[in-house]
């Protein structure tokens, strides 16, 4: 019987996810109805908004790519027990440095500039992740709190650079760098959409992360370190080094996403290269139970919600409803084991009570 547990666990997960999604849409429907919109019509508009044109499909794929790579970056840290909340800052710094590299090297071959920009973005992201990583490993300072602080610092720093030393010549754009030479832009895969050739690089990265985590001896080490770091250290695994390396790679991935956003979509740095995308990605990673494949699939799902919600605007429904849908799913998934445990405990109490009554009856008889 016990041999089957993993399968049961997987089914339970899918079941919980399904119930959460249905509940979210149910609650969403109530809110929509309460504010005078027809829920079915609204959800229809959402579906159309996501799939009615190639452009929207492209946009949602691009957004899914951002969520997926950021989510995997989070998973990579979580697997070894370090929670990288600083992806937002790493992403912003990666974006602005990648952009600036393109501007400094303006005129050189794209074959040189693009790889250099990618490397630069990764190096900056990794360097910024190094600070909380080394503080966690060497000094045991809580990485969640430091990365939250470092996010704000990075946001300020980027804003300073974009307003000050690296500001563009155009007076109307307040906080933005100059635009990249069009030679360096990633090619569009679907015209007028945000989807560019960066998605291929992202696919390769996603595959590599999945492969290393699930199929290699390093991935095995990571799993053990995350499950029981003391045991891993005891067994001769270099835990500190592994945790730090994972943090650096996580930071590098976030930095690279920043580069994708600039070279693919924005073509210059401004704060809209990321709108708390990494926080959304953390939530995706969490609902995915930190499993790479689930991260990829759920990224797509949330991208559909987000892009679809823009379709709802067309019939006058505020698109922010998607934030509510998304977070309700997260609330339920985060509480899933707690809710299950409460149900179990209640059932157990009932059983115990019934059994005690039964015995009392028997004793009396």
């Amino acid at each position: 019987m016990k041999e089957k547990t993993p399968v049961l666990v997987r089914y339970r997960y899918l079941f919980s996810l399904l119930v959460s999604v249905l509940l979210a849409f149910g609650i969403g429907a109530i809110i929509l109805a309460a504010s005078g919109f027809a829920p079915l019509q609204a959800y229809g508009a959402m579906l159309r908004g996501a799939f009615d044109s190639a452009r929207h499909v492209g946009d949602l794929l691009e957004y899914a790519m951002v969520l997926c790579i950021c989510g995997l970056a989070c998973v990579l840290g979580a697997r070894v027990g370090i929670f990288n909340v600083g992806g937002e800052g790493q992403l912003l710094l990666g974006a602005i440095f990648a952009c600036q590299i393109g501007i400094w090297l303006d005129g050189m071959s794209p074959w040189l500039v693009i790889p250099l920009a990618a490397l630069g973005a990764m190096a900056v992201g990794a360097a910024y992740a190094f600070i909380p990583g080394v503080l966690k490993v060497k000094v045991k300072v809580n990485e969640v709190i430091t990365t939250i602080m470092l996010n704000t610092i990075a946001a300020f720093l980027c804003q300073y650079l974009a307003k000050g030393p690296w500001k563009n010549a155009n007076k109307n754009l307040v906080a933005a760098t100059s635009q990249l030479n069009a030679d360096y832009w990633f090619g569009k895969l679907i015209p007028r959409s945000n989807l560019t050739t960066a998605v291929f690089a992202a696919a390769v990265i996603a595959f590599l992360v999945w492969y290393v985590m699930q199929k290699t001896s390093k991935g095995f080490e990571m799993k053990i370190v995350g499950q029981n770091p003391r045991f891993a250290f005891f067994s001769g695994i270099k835990t500190d080094r592994l945790v730090l390396i994972c943090m650096l790679i996580s930071g590098a991935m976030c930095g690279l996403v920043g580069m994708f956003r600039v070279y693919g979509v924005e073509h210059l740095y401004k704060s809209s290269v990321s709108n708390d995308y990494y926080f959304e990605a953390i939530m995706v990673a969490m609902i995915a139970s930190y499993q790479p494949v689930a991260v990829i699939l759920l990224s797509l799902f949330f991208a559909i919600l987000k892009i679809g919600a823009q379709g709802m605007e067309l019939i006058g429904i505020p698109s922010q409803i998607y934030l509510i849908l998304q977070t309700v799913i997260i609330f339920f998934m985060a509480a899933e084991s707690g809710i299950m445990a409460s149900i179990d405990a209640a059932a157990q109490r009932r059983r115990a009570k019934a059994a005690a009554q039964q015995r009392q009856k028997e004793a009396q008889a």
Binding site: S35, V141, G338
Partner: protein, 317 residues
């Protein structure tokens, strides 16, 4: 040289400190709530969402009942509900407090933006009844000091009162002892026949209320009856930084919020000299350095304890 002294003068003017107090207060009130959850052993990332809810429902109440006081009451009521909601997940269902905090922030953003647009038709609301500013009469005439503290919105003064009340509550009342025990070592309460979870519920609800008040002050006092989308503007995270910086001590937490407010305020004064974005970094950097310092110091203390106490060092256990 002359330029520099001019600059210094403008930095150290009553105006700067007045601005500091003004900017610090919304953060400070929320941070006081965060100090309570921190003492109860909950890492509360969700304060930003709580502030946003308070800000929106304050304006909504003010709009519905045409009174800022009703708006405040409405915000407090919502604060209780948000606190209960947060506690339900974090305490009852034992969910990851970080994820719930993050989700609460996003949820609050979604809900307030959606409702704001559904009710007010735009993404903001303006010009509803607001909380009064206070003028202190004679005290306002005291040179420098008067200029700093006079003429603020009501809750700037209430905040100071709250600091005192919460400090007494946390460090001088039995309930405060239970609250701290719940965070530091919950088993002690359990074996004393008390419920640590109950203290955590209370802390969460109080935090919800305080953050809501902070939000209501923001929309009804600070901005005189205005709601704008995402108007909490990461103040919840600043409040969180203050809690960490102040070690969850209400007084130190309040001082930390003044520090954040100060750097915020001089950013404006220094425009043209140093970017306000750079001065904005300073308090966060100080917080990180503080955290590292605190950990290193506690490690060093352990080592020192052994050297100071030769008898203990010789002991077996």
């Amino acid at each position: 040289m002359n330029e520099f002294s001019e600059l210094l003068k403008s930095i150290l003017s009553p105006g700067t400190f007045n601005e500091m107090l003004r900017r610090a207060t919304p953060v400070a009130i929320a941070a006081l709530g965060g100090a309570l959850t921190e003492h109860a052993g909950i890492m509360n990332i969700g304060m930003d969402g709580m502030i946003l809810m308070g800000a929106f429902f304050g304006v909504l109440g003010s709009f519905l009942f045409s009174s800022a006081w009703a708006g405040l009451a409405f915000a407090i009521l919502i604060g209780v509900l948000v606190g209960l909601f947060y506690a339900l997940f974090v305490i009852k269902f034992r969910s990851d407090e970080f994820i719930i905090g993050c989700a609460l922030n996003t949820f609050a953003l979604g809900l307030t933006s959606y409702m704001s647009r559904a009710i007010f038709g735009t993404s903001g609301a303006k010009g509803y009844p607001s909380l009064p500013d206070l003028h202190l009469g004679v005290i306002g005439k005291i040179p420098f000091f008067g200029g700093v503290i006079d003429g603020h919105s009501l809750f700037v003064y209430v905040a100071v009162l709250l600091v005192v009340i919460l400090w007494v509550f946390v460090y001088k009342t039995p309930a405060g002892f239970h609250l701290r025990a719940a965070g530091e070592k919950p088993e002690t309460l359990r074996t004393a026949g008390l419920s640590p979870d109950r203290m955590k519920w209370i802390a969460s609800v109080l935090c919800g209320v305080l953050c809501s008040i902070a939000g209501a002050h923001l929309s009804l006092g600070y901005l005189n009856g205005t709601f704008a989308e995402n108007m909490s503007n990461s103040r919840g995270f600043v409040a969180f930084a203050c809690v960490i910086f102040g070690g969850a001590n209400p007084i130190k937490t309040y001082l930390a919020s003044l520090m954040f407010g100060f750097f915020d305020a001089i950013g404006l004064r220094l425009q043209g000299t140093i970017s306000s974005d750079l001065t904005g970094i300073i308090p966060y950097a100080i917080t990180v350095i503080m955290m590292v310092y605190v950990v290193i110091r506690s490690n060093r203390r352990k080592k020192h304890a052994q050297k100071r106490d030769p008898k203990a060092a010789g002991g077996a256990a």
